[in-house]
């Protein structure tokens, strides 16, 4: 029974990690940019919720998702567009700087202490399914993620802009040569990435019950690891990487001996390194992970 309980925990955590990884992986597949500031998008969602405490949950949620989407678009326009075409090291450091900037701006305004408030508190109650007690939040997460993944799959397979994005992710220059508008594709990628970060922020707040300026850091690290594991340039891979990471995290938490529990994160990163050494291009990558010659 504990095993089934753990399995459900793993799937729901994996679902959130998958959403976070997709947000990062989308941008990376099209622009070769690792967006360190993705964590701050999650933070932005959290603080939007905080600022709107007391409003109906649905208002809070929709506002958070919208605001984070706008924030992502602003990020692209202001920070990343001027840097388009810069070498990977510059892009990496620039996104790191942006992340640092946003974190410390929020620190300045809201202070360093975590601030608790209520969002979807009711969902933390457990629902009885057979002989299992499952937190309502976990069920909600799995359902919402499934819907989002379905929506994204349809988007990328059926819509014109979705196909353009897949082409751009495979060969950006060639996509431009068939008329795909670089600006438009990148903007849509950031908008989607923001939307996904918005959903992740809903979960983080509902689960943790508080916000702080550092709340995005852990999630974004997970997102990187998951998207790299899943495979460079592969969106299904990012989702898969997220699920795997969720399962590994829960497994470690459940099966690590007591004295080693504080080192859980270190183990996760150790496994990540081991994975990189075994298969650096990721599980589902379709082509060599090598920068353009």
């Amino acid at each position: 029974m504990i095993l089934v309980q753990n399995a459900i925990d793993a799937i729901s955590l994996g679902a959130i990690y998958a959403l976070a990884a997709l947000g990062v992986g989308l941008i990376f597949s099209i622009m070769r940019l690792i967006n360190f500031a993705h964590g701050e998008l999650i933070m932005g969602g959290g603080f939007t919720l905080y600022v709107l405490t007391g409003e109906p949950y649905i208002v809070m949620a929709v506002a958070a998702i919208l605001i984070v989407t706008v924030l992502a678009l602003a990020m692209e326009r202001v920070a990343f567009r001027p840097l388009r075409g810069a070498n990977p090291a510059t892009l990496l450091i620039a996104s790191f700087a942006l992340s640092y900037l946003l974190q410390h701006s929020v620190l300045l305004i809201f202070g360093s202490r975590a601030m608790g408030f209520d969002f979807l508190g009711g969902l933390n109650q457990s629902i009885e399914i057979g002989s299992l007690r499952v937190p309502g939040l976990e069920i909600a997460v799995v359902v919402v993620t499934a819907l989002l993944l379905l929506g994204l799959t349809l988007f990328f397979k059926r819509s014109a802009i979705g196909i353009q994005m897949r082409a751009a992710a495979e060969d950006f220059d060639m996509a431009r040569l068939v008329g795909v508008r670089a600006d438009r594709v990148i903007a849509v990628a950031f908008a989607l990435s923001g939307m996904l970060a918005g959903f992740v922020s809903l979960y983080v707040v509902a689960q943790g019950g508080s916000v702080s300026y550092k709340m995005g850091v852990n999630m974004v690290l997970v997102a990187f690891v998951a998207s790299v594991i899943g495979g460079v340039g592969s969106l299904p891979g990012a989702a898969l990487g997220g699920f795997l990471l969720g399962i590994v995290s829960v497994a470690l938490q459940a099966f690590l001996p007591e004295e080693w529990r504080p080192y859980r994160d270190a183990f996760v990163f150790l496994l990540f390194i081991a994975f990189l050494l075994w298969r650096p291009q990721g599980i589902l990558a379709r082509r060599a992970d090598r920068e353009r010659v």
């Binding site: 014109a160 196909i163 353009q164 897949r166 082409a167 495979e170 060969d171 220059d173 060639m174 996509a175 431009r176 040569l177 068939v178 008329g179 795909v180 508008r181 670089a182 379709r286």
Partner: protein, 237 residues
């Protein structure tokens, strides 16, 4: 239709094009030949908007286009089939062709063109739902051309369409190119295969070490004295 004047392009401190000028009149098939490293691909990429020239002018249909982004040029009727075909391997054949129509606003005309492509290249119709990465070299070349044609270009540029293809396939490719001229498309082709280029085109430019060293009507060029020197020589002094 296309007028390139005194084009200079550098990659950092390496000069790739030094003062290249070519002309393409509507309805022509013009070839550019030359040894490896002569700058032929750079010329194509600059015209197509992928590389910014440091000096010089490019006029397409009487408007200056040097420095404009590639996607805008496609919308204006300039399509490039780059070296190595570069079809989107993870997308299906159908999606590849459909992508070609990205800059067009008219859905119905685009759909009609899709039908035309499938008639012109029956192999693509057969493989419509397959991932493009699974096609053979020749089939991929057909796909790349079909994709470029979906944009209804006025000027179609091809960079080494015969590269890596068996002679029979190359012949088929150039048959298609000749057909295109009939439907009013102007063609500029870069070629390694000198014989094919001279046979298929009206006029030819010979490039070497970043500059044009010879030009003329393709039928006469081979017999012209100095032709071999121009092609194989060390370039302009």
């Amino acid at each position: 239709m296309l007028a390139v004047q005194d084009l200079h392009v550098s990659y950092g401190s390496v000069v790739a094009l030094r003062g290249v000028s070519i002309d393409v009149a509507p309805g022509e098939i013009v070839a550019v030949i030359g040894p490896n490293g002569a700058g032929k691909s750079t010329l194509m990429r600059s015209i197509a908007g992928l590389v910014r020239p440091s000096r010089g002018e490019i006029r397409f249909q009487d408007s200056a286009i040097a420095g404009q982004p590639a996607e805008r040029l496609v919308a204006q009727g300039l399509s490039l089939v780059p070296e190595g075909r570069r079809i989107f391997g993870s997308l299906t054949v159908g999606e590849n062709i459909q992508l070609g129509a990205t800059p067009r606003g008219d859905r119905r005309a685009a759909a009609a063109d899709m039908e035309r492509m499938l008639t012109l290249f029956p192999i693509l119709k057969e493989r419509f739902h397959q991932k493009a990465g699974k096609l053979s070299g020749g089939e991929q070349q057909m796909l790349a051309i079909a994709r470029a044609l979906m944009a209804a270009p006025k000027l179609l540029m091809l960079d080494e369409p015969s590269l890596g293809l068996a002679p029979l396939i190359v012949r088929k490719v150039y048959e298609v190119i000749a057909e295109l001229r009939k439907s009013g498309v102007t063609v500029l082709v870069v070629e390694q295969a000198v014989h094919v280029a001279l046979t298929a085109s009206d006029r030819t430019y010979v490039m070497n070490a970043g500059a044009i060293v010879m030009a003329g009507r393709s039928a006469e060029l081979r017999g012209t004295p100095g032709f071999e020197d121009a092609y194989f020589g060390a370039g302009p002094r």
